[in-house]
């Protein structure tokens, strides 16, 4: 994707909070939500089969496996429903906030990162489990794992910018750390200082 160089945010030469950076994440999150919801419908018994163009009934073996039932028992709702929730979170947290949210709402960007990065890794681990433990494949699960991987790659830059900003405030202006983290107003000079100092570097 071509990076736009308007209002660059340290350490990048573009703004990771721009809409052209976030909208694709929301679309991918929405796609993941739809696929996971379909898989959750199977686990809830609302649909009787799972569509799979390559592995046939292996998909149903994976989704109806002991690992899946164990997760259902401990989490209260099917794992695919929780996956759908996480993808919806990616889309919703992707929409929320302005193009300077990396600085004005770091908590939101960090939450967005927590939703995308660790949960994306969980999704990828689940695909690895189905390969080596269950010895079966699920096409739609692999698609969602790929979506998770792409989402991690697309979202890490904004999270990193927010973490660097918060780290800077904690080191240089410790008294404003919590205010900056929760998006409560701090002197504009400090906010602008951060960008100027980082640009000079």
């Amino acid at each position: 994707m071509k990076k736009h160089k308007k209002n660059p945010v340290p350490p990048w030469d573009y703004n990771p909070s721009e809409w052209n950076q976030r909208i694709p994440i929301c679309i991918l999150g929405g796609l993941g939500f739809l696929i996971s919801t379909y898989l959750a419908f199977f686990q809830w018994g609302l649909v009787s089969t799972v569509w799979d163009p390559f592995f046939g009934k292996q998909s149903m073996e994976v989704i109806d496996s002991d690992v899946s039932h164990l997760m259902y028992k401990y989490m209260g709702i099917p794992d695919a429903a929780l996956g759908a929730y996480a993808y919806l979170g990616d889309a919703i947290f992707g929409i929320a906030g302005s193009t300077r949210r990396w600085q004005y709402r770091p908590w939101l960007v960090i939450l967005f990162g927590i939703d995308i990065i660790p949960l994306g890794i969980v999704s990828i681990v689940l695909v690895i489990i189905q390969t080596f433990v269950l010895n079966a494949w699920c096409f739609l699960c692999i698609v969602t794992a790929i979506i998770s991987l792409i989402l991690i790659i697309m979202a890490y830059d904004e999270v990193w910018s927010s973490l660097l900003y918060i780290h800077y405030i904690r080191k240089k202006q410790k008294q404003y750390f919590w205010k900056a983290l929760w998006g409560i107003r701090i002197p504009a000079a400090i906010e602008n200082d951060y960008i100027q100092v980082k640009r000079r570097k």
């Binding site: 028992k73 209260g76 929730y85 919806l88 906030g97 300077r100 504009a188």
Partner: protein, 116 residues
């Protein structure tokens, strides 16, 4: 504002849950529990649309936690559809309750300060 509208809709769904899941007063969950929890959600979310108050968001977040706790701890595995409904609604409401309002917020003020 849009997040509060979604919470109003989720509250309406919870109010209709006794009819949708067809559970009655003889069941483990009395119908008025769903009705009143849904009504609280609708009321606080509607108030949040009008007044955009952080306290209201925190109250809505509290109600969502109650839904999750109730669905998770008050039912045994395999959980009844109504219990999973509580958990799902609670998780969704929690997500939408923490979405900040988009107009006249700290971001707009900060942008204006930087422009001036």
């Amino acid at each position: 504002m849009w997040a509060s509208v979604v919470i109003v809709m989720l509250g309406c769904w919870l109010m209709l849950s006794p009819v949708i899941f067809m559970h009655t007063i003889q069941d483990q969950v009395p119908w008025f529990h769903d009705f009143f929890v849904g009504l609280f959600l609708v009321s606080f979310a509607f108030a949040n649309c009008l007044y955009k108050n952080r306290i209201l968001s925190i109250i809505i977040l509290g109600i969502s936690f109650w839904c999750i706790i109730y669905g998770y701890f008050f039912f045994d595995h395999p959980r009844a559809p109504i219990a999973q409904n509580y958990i799902a609604i609670g998780l969704l409401v929690a997500m939408f309750a923490i979405i900040p309002p988009t107009d006249k917020t700290v971001e707009d003020e900060a942008i204006q300060r930087n422009m001036s």
